[in-house]
């Protein structure tokens, strides 16, 4: 059997695979956090809760109404995105003129409300969500066995992440968005409805988190607290990538997922903290983050 550093190749490859899957979720979530922060100056602590709501949307859709995986992939992000829009209109928009820390605190409170309520209804234990039938099974690649669903998750998130990056960095709509982050009053003077753009961006970022939640539902246990510690990892990813840098958060997310996977092989005890340690090192060497400009 082939080994690298005394570890069987197959173990390393399958952990790499798991790392990429986790990294896909990090990428999609930190992308949303970065976009929302870039435009609104709000660090969305509830992002993990929205991710959880997305997964619950799929689970409850199946259990209560028999809605399958594919419709859920659209429906759940739409519903959760709408919740996000309502919250932005009701609460967040009153805080834009204040210190951004207030946005962090409000979304932290919202996350507590969402997670606590669902915990009361469904308990803390996880429930499993079936893998859609087309994507069950595995491919034997010769050197490793690849579960099809995991390959799909990686593919889907890479496509979604890079599409979002493309839209924001390379299209006219994206140029308008970026202009709004630079100078909103001026853009408004050009006749563009900036508040509407802000609310749609927030809804979009939240929907992205919910989409990640639906994608994650079949590979993890769906539980009310599934996003609680994830959101902290996502924050670390965003800090490492450079706050507001979209490419930084996508590449950072995937890369850190892989590093975390390797750590699981080499020194499992450290796998939970490796991202935070890397964050500390990056901050010492390059305080603005790897892709950040300052």
């Amino acid at each position: 059997m082939t080994t690298i550093f005394g570890y069987p190749l197959i173990v390393i490859l399958s952990q790499l695979m798991l790392g990429l899957v986790n990294g896909s979720f990090y990428a999609m979530l930190s992308l949303g956090v970065a976009v929302i922060f870039g435009l609104m100056g709000v660090v969305n602590f509830a992002h993990g809760a929205f991710y959880m709501l997305g997964a619950f949307g799929a689970l409850l859709g199946l259990q209560w109404f028999g809605i399958g995986y594919w419709p859920s992939l659209i429906l759940s992000p739409l519903i959760v995105g709408t919740i996000g829009i309502v919250l932005e209109r009701l609460l967040l928009r009153h805080l834009y003129k204040l210190d951004p820390l207030y946005g962090l605190l409000v979304t932290f409170g919202l996350a507590l409300v969402a997670e606590g309520s669902l915990q009361n209804y469904f308990g803390s234990s996880g429930q499993s969500y079936p893998v859609p039938s087309i994507l069950t099974g595995t491919w034997n690649l010769g050197f490793m066995i690849l579960p099809i669903y995991r390959a799909w998750v990686i593919l889907a998130s890479v496509v979604v992440s890079f599409t979002t990056w493309y839209v924001i960095e390379r299209t006219r709509l994206g140029a308008t968005l970026r202009a709004a982050t630079q100078n909103a009053p001026l853009l408004q003077a050009f006749g563009i409805n900036v508040p509407r753009m802000v609310v749609l961006t927030f809804g979009g970022g939240v929907a992205l988190a919910a989409l990640a939640g639906v994608l994650a539902a079949p590979v993890i246990q769906v539980s009310p607290l599934m996003g609680q510690s994830l959101v902290i990892v996502v924050f670390a990813v965003v800090v490492i990538g450079g706050m507001g840098s979209i490419l930084g958060s996508v590449l950072g997310g995937l890369g850190l997922g892989v590093i975390e996977g390797f750590t699981k092989v080499l020194y499992p005890e450290a796998s939970n903290i490796v991202v935070f340690v890397i964050m500390a090192i990056v901050l010492v060497v390059r305080p603005a983050g790897l892709f950040g400009k300052e």
Binding site: F37, V43, L91, H94, L95, L98, D99, P100, L101, Y102, L104, L105, V106, F108, G109, L110, A111, L112, V113, A114, E115, G116, S117, Q119, N120, Q228, S229, I232, F235, A236, V238, V239, M243, E269, N272, I273, V275, F276, V277, M279, A280, L283, V284, P287
Partner: protein
């Protein structure tokens, strides 16, 4: 509040605090309240007076609680040396985390402290001496330097109260020292403080370490009062609670954090019997309500009210 009234108010509160055991209030509850009030005051030193919002203060409370409980239980240290060691641990941790976090400001500072405190959480979860999910239990209270035994709740209560009053006076001293004035200057206008020649980084770091050390003292005492240290002491939800306390009472006011701690701890105790798991939801809703409509907090609103009255009269 007018300058003449304040000392009288504090004297009345102190007399009340001394009489608590006679009033038939459960002393362990009041001790817990005092520990959290101390924690909140330590936090307010950072948030209210230096303008730094740390989202990882549970790391200091918890690490000191674990250190003290482990030293007393497994190493049979005396109570006072174990408390001092706990404070030292949290101060060292504060130096490391502070030195990294003060490289950034505002929202970044919050996210960095949150991430770094998560390292402390996972270390406590996985290290051998912390007892994992069970924590350290059955911690004896010992005695003050072999002279005053602390087994009885009454003795422990007066010990905690004495420490609390000393800490409160110490924080008062810091705030009203030249060092504290510089901190407030940094909070209000950092570029101006820099241009006046103050070493911003060093002042912020010292404030952070002081806050971490006092938070640690609160953690050590809490561990001894309750007789255990658990993961909830280092969890991010605890870091969230200690932000909420000064926020309710009034950030940057002197007595606000104590009121905030009182409100939250009483709510927790009172509600957990009645509504069970809904406590988290209620705390979250209070968080939202405070930020949306009540940013000055109880004491802040009172000061504003008195200020308005004296202006009109």
């Amino acid at each position: 509040m007018s300058a003449r009234l304040t000392p009288i108010l504090y004297a009345v509160l102190l007399v009340l605090a001394v009489c608590v055991p006679l009033l038939g209030v459960y002393p362990v509850f009041v001790m817990q309240l005092l520990c959290f009030a101390m924690f909140a005051c330590a936090y307010n030193l950072l948030l209210g007076f230096s303008g730094m919002l740390s989202f990882g203060h549970a790391a200091f409370l918890g690490s000191a609680a674990y250190a003290t409980c482990w030293l007393v239980t497994a190493q049979h240290w005396g109570t006072v040396p174990a408390i001092l060691a706990g404070v030292a641990v949290s101060a060292i941790l504060g130096t490391i985390i502070g030195a990294i976090a003060i490289r950034r400001r505002g929202i970044y500072f919050a996210m960095i402290t949150l991430a770094l405190s998560q390292i402390v959480y996972f270390v406590c979860l996985e290290a051998k001496f912390t007892g994992g999910e069970n924590g350290i239990q059955g911690v004896p209270r010992g005695s003050v330097l072999g002279i005053v035994p602390l087994q009885s709740d009454i003795a422990m209560y007066y010990f905690v109260l004495a420490v609390f009053v000393l800490v409160f006076l110490f924080i008062y001293r810091i705030i009203h020292s030249p060092f504290g004035q510089v901190l407030k200057a940094i909070r209000d206008n950092e570029p101006r403080a820099t241009s006046l020649g103050y070493d911003i980084g060093r002042h912020k770091l010292v404030a952070f370490i002081l806050s971490a050390a006092i938070a640690g003292l609160a953690g050590s005492l809490k561990g001894l009062v309750l007789g255990f240290a658990t993961l909830s002491d280092v969890q991010q939800s605890t870091s969230g609670l200690v932000i909420l306390m000064p926020l309710i009472g009034g950030t940057g006011t002197f007595f606000g954090p104590v009121i905030g701690a009182g409100v939250i701890i009483t709510l927790q105790q009172y509600l957990s019997d009645r509504v069970g798991g809904w406590v988290t939801v209620i705390i979250g809703a209070i968080f939202v309500a405070c930020v949306m409509a009540f940013r000055r907090g109880v004491v802040g609103e009172l000061i504003a009210l008195v200020g308005r009255k004296t202006k009109t009269s």
